[in-house]
């Protein structure tokens, strides 16, 4: 009872503190010549109105200039362009460069934080960083060691800095941040270390904490209102963040928040997904493990959850729910809807009404997905919204110490964090995907703070009985839940896509190609081999009346782990190694920015 009263008080306080939108930032986001936040816009569409480069001339694209970051590890995210300055970042040690676009990319300032290198091995899967963000004259960097720092955009001087987590407990960061109004939305990594995920809003002016909402725990921690927060239209009730956990397991419950964030200014809601519950051994955490694997809609001012939707209750496969939430306006059944589309690691493409959290579409975006037969769409069913798990692929039902084989997708998902793009012109989503399956054997592990807390052995391999490659690049109709076209790729497509008004869609490949395809047909129009494999996101900007396309190359990340040595196919039996290509045969390390333009 006390808890509810406290929460109500917090609500009214938050309401009193709310401020108006950030019109200066919104104007920059709306200017297609700039790229001021990693996602391009708040809707996470990764769509640009620029059309100087189009289907008719993209074949003439040339390299305009390049820049080496001086760092070898995996390069995710993209540069920003704010006015005449480009901001380039690197993985650990998280360097930031400000480059003068009026002076051939001359370095205006550089920033390199001093970080304890012991944070490196605590970062699961390479020391990537998905980039900086801009607002109110500041560049925001969320470092590997969870230090959030605001830099003066013109000088690089530190304006403020705040520590968001504790790396000695396995709390680290790989994600970007999202400025909203007068606040900065910040997530956290460490799901493989038993970290309890949270989203934190810091005040842009001084770095002071505004609110923090955990993925699990008591309502005062999750900022869930038992009466007004809904799950598929129904109030979640009290203690929803603890009552589907056994004992205190929620305290090391995972549900980290290292993906992308989107925002609807009209609704004043931020959207994101929470990651896998800890450990990977499902038998050690009975229950639905709410609110891991969940799509969240939170009030930007107070953090209070408006609605939640748990996609994968009681995860048994490490299907983190962190992938981007793409906000679109489309018609379904002749009615204009405010939609949210999400391509989950679990292989389902979800479309929801982002006002209410109503589930509209849930269909497989890779035909190979087999761990669940369907997501129940009948609101009258007690299984409404739940995936129907296929017993043969259930690592819970098969039990500890049993190897469940042939599960599709693999733990890295039909898609990982690499963000999709959406074109309002074609009303299609362009999705970089993985085409990889796995064997999964869970077993008992014990928790030690700051140490890996995994508890499963995985073997991954290209999807069987398919084209033999490990990826596809697809166009997806989110209203119908159908694949429009699909381009097979030899390796997982691990780069973020870009759609443009020139009807060109760009993406990068792990071999290092930047590819341009026709937004309507998928026909390849251009490719160029950059210095290393691409796991960064393609962006575009305009400067001096010219449109540029830019992307980082620099292989690493999850792709640098599983694919560097090549995958094996257990169906081939022992000893049949090398049947599938090793990424190391195609590319080597090294971070480079490559900028493209049409010839003068």
């Amino acid at each position: 009872m006390n808890r509810i009263i406290l929460l109500t008080t917090a609500l009214s306080l938050g309401g009193a503190l709310s401020v108006s939108a950030n019109p200066a930032l919104q104007a920059l986001i709306d200017d297609p010549n700039q790229w001021v936040i990693q996602t391009g816009d708040y809707a996470n569409q990764r769509y640009s109105e620029l059309d100087q480069i189009n289907t008719g001339n993209v074949a003439d694209l040339q390299v305009a200039w390049t820049f080496s970051t001086g760092v070898l590890r995996g390069h995710e995210g993209s540069p920003l362009v704010v006015g005449d300055i480009m901001y380039v970042h690197s993985p650990f040690p998280n360097k930031v460069y400000a480059l003068d676009l009026n002076d051939n990319g001359k370095i205006i300032w550089r920033y390199e934080p001093v970080q304890d290198p012991t944070v490196i091995p605590v970062m699961c899967c390479d020391t990537v960083n998905r980039g900086v963000a801009y607002a109110d004259g500041k560049i925001f960097l969320h470092q590997a060691d969870t230090t959030v720092v605001a830099l003066d955009a013109l000088t690089g001087a530190v304006v403020w800095s705040v520590k968001n987590g504790d790396p000695t407990k396995g709390e680290t960061n790989t994600a970007t941040v999202m400025p909203v109004k007068d606040k900065l939305i910040v997530g956290i990594s460490g799901g493989e270390f038993g970290v309890r995920g949270s989203v934190t809003a810091y005040n842009i002016a001084d770095g002071s904490l505004a609110w923090r909402g955990y993925s699990m725990g008591p309502d005062s921690d999750t900022l869930i209102d038992p009466v007004n927060t809904t799950h598929l239209g129904k109030p979640v009730g009290p203690d929803s963040g603890t009552n589907t956990w056994e004992g205190d397991q929620w305290k090391i419950g995972g549900g980290t928040t290292w993906g992308w964030y989107s925002y609807d200014p009209e609704l004043n809601l931020i959207y994101y997904g929470s990651g896998n519950p800890s450990t990977w051994n499902p038998s050690q955490r009975p229950g639905d493990n709410r609110w891991s694997m969940t799509i969240w809609a939170r009030d930007a001012d107070t953090g209070v959850a408006k609605w939640v939707y748990q996609m994968t209750p009681h995860d048994e496969w490490d299907f983190d729910g962190v992938n981007e939430m793409v906000l679109t306006e489309q018609q379904i059944g002749g009615v204009d809807r405010k939609l949210l589309t999400h391509f989950d690691r679990n292989g389902f493409g979800y479309t929801l009404d982002r006002v209410t959290g109503e589930l509209l579409v849930a269909q497989k975006y890779d035909p190979q997905v087999n761990w669940a037969s369907e997501v129940v769409m009948d609101p009258a069913s007690d299984q409404y919204g739940r995936p129907q798990v296929v017993a043969a692929y259930s690592t819970q039902q098969n039990g500890e110490d049993v190897n469940s084989t042939g599960i599709c997708p693999a733990a890295l998902g039909s898609k990982d964090q690499q963000p999709s793009a959406y074109s309002p012109k074609t009303q299609l989503h362009y999705v970089p995907t993985n085409h990889v399956c796995m064997d999964y054997e869970p077993f008992r592990v014990s928790y030690t703070a700051g140490q890996p807390y995994v508890g499963a052995t995985l073997a991954m391999y290209p999807a069987p009985d398919s084209h033999g490659g490990m990826g596809n690049f697809i166009a997806w109709d989110a209203k119908e839940g159908k694949i429009k076209w699909s381009l097979p790729e030899q390796f997982s497509v691990w780069s973020g896509a870009l759609a443009t008004a020139g009807d060109v869609v760009f993406y990068g490949t792990l071999e290092g190609y930047l590819k341009a395809v026709d937004a309507n047909t998928g026909a390849e129009l251009y490719r160029f081999k950059t210095p290393s494999g691409i796991i960064g996101n393609v962006m575009t900007y305009g400067h001096g009346g010219k449109q540029y396309v830019a992307v980082y190359s620099g292989v690493g990340g999850w792709a640098g782990i599983g694919l560097a040595a090549g995958l094996t196919n257990p169906n081939d039996g022992l000893g049949a190694v090398g049947g599938y290509a090793a990424l190391s045969d195609y590319t080597a390390l090294g971070g480079t920015l490559t900028v493209f333009a049409l010839p003068d």
Binding site: T118, E441, Q451, A459, G556, G562, A564, A565, L574, L589
Partner: protein
């Protein structure tokens, strides 16, 4: 002969001061080098860190009392090597890649297991290792307090040695010996169950 147990090895470590990137890093042989068998039988016998000679405490040991694998002609392997496969892919593979093959940023540890002595291998895992300079930032964490690693370190070591010597191919091991009672008891004691 208890020389080959983990406890003994940890005692050795306790008596050794290992600085970051110290003596081990200085030798820095090619991390991708593939182990080649010694040419002469005499040399092979002297340097044989692979062949199982005795079976003690539920695991196979070399003539020097160092844990090792035993894989029968039909592919059946000892329990410890199989256990090492599982534990490796839970705790180690996110850096060192599938089956010890290495990743974009961490060495192929299957070769390290063959190249390093048992005691040096244990020391690196327990204490960690840091190579941070202008060219690279490789940091192996300290696993000394992690029971999921330390209680299975002999298993992981044997598995990687089987991989590095190519006695065990890539992929999931298929046939294994049953779990010995001695290993079951040692596991329970180590985990404090």
């Amino acid at each position: 002969m208890t020389k080959g147990t983990l406890c003994a090895a940890l005692a050795v470590i306790a008596a050794t001061t290992l600085t970051d990137g110290g003596a081990l890093a200085q030798t820095a042989p090619d991390p991708n080098a593939v182990a080649t068998p010694d040419a002469t039988p005499a040399a092979a016998a002297a340097a044989d860190n692979l062949t199982a000679v005795t079976f003690e405490g539920g695991r196979y040991l070399t003539a020097d009392g160092v844990p090792t694998f035993k894989i029968a002609a039909d592919g059946t392997m000892d329990w410890a090597t199989y256990s090492g496969f599982r534990r490796y892919h839970s705790e180690c593979h996110v850096c060192h890649g599938p089956e010890g093959e290495g990743s974009a940023y961490a060495p192929a540890i299957k070769n390290s297991a063959v190249r390093l002595s048992y005691y040096d291998f244990i020391a690196v895992v327990a204490n960690g290792r840091t190579v941070v300079n202008a060219a690279q930032n490789q940091v192996m964490p300290t696993f000394g307090t992690n029971p999921n690693v330390m209680c299975y370190l002999d298993d992981i070591y044997t598995y990687l040695k089987a991989r590095g010597s190519e006695a065990l191919p890539r992929g999931r091991p298929s046939k294994k010996e049953p779990k010995p009672d001695a290993i079951r008891d040692a596991e329970a004691a180590c985990l404090g169950l």
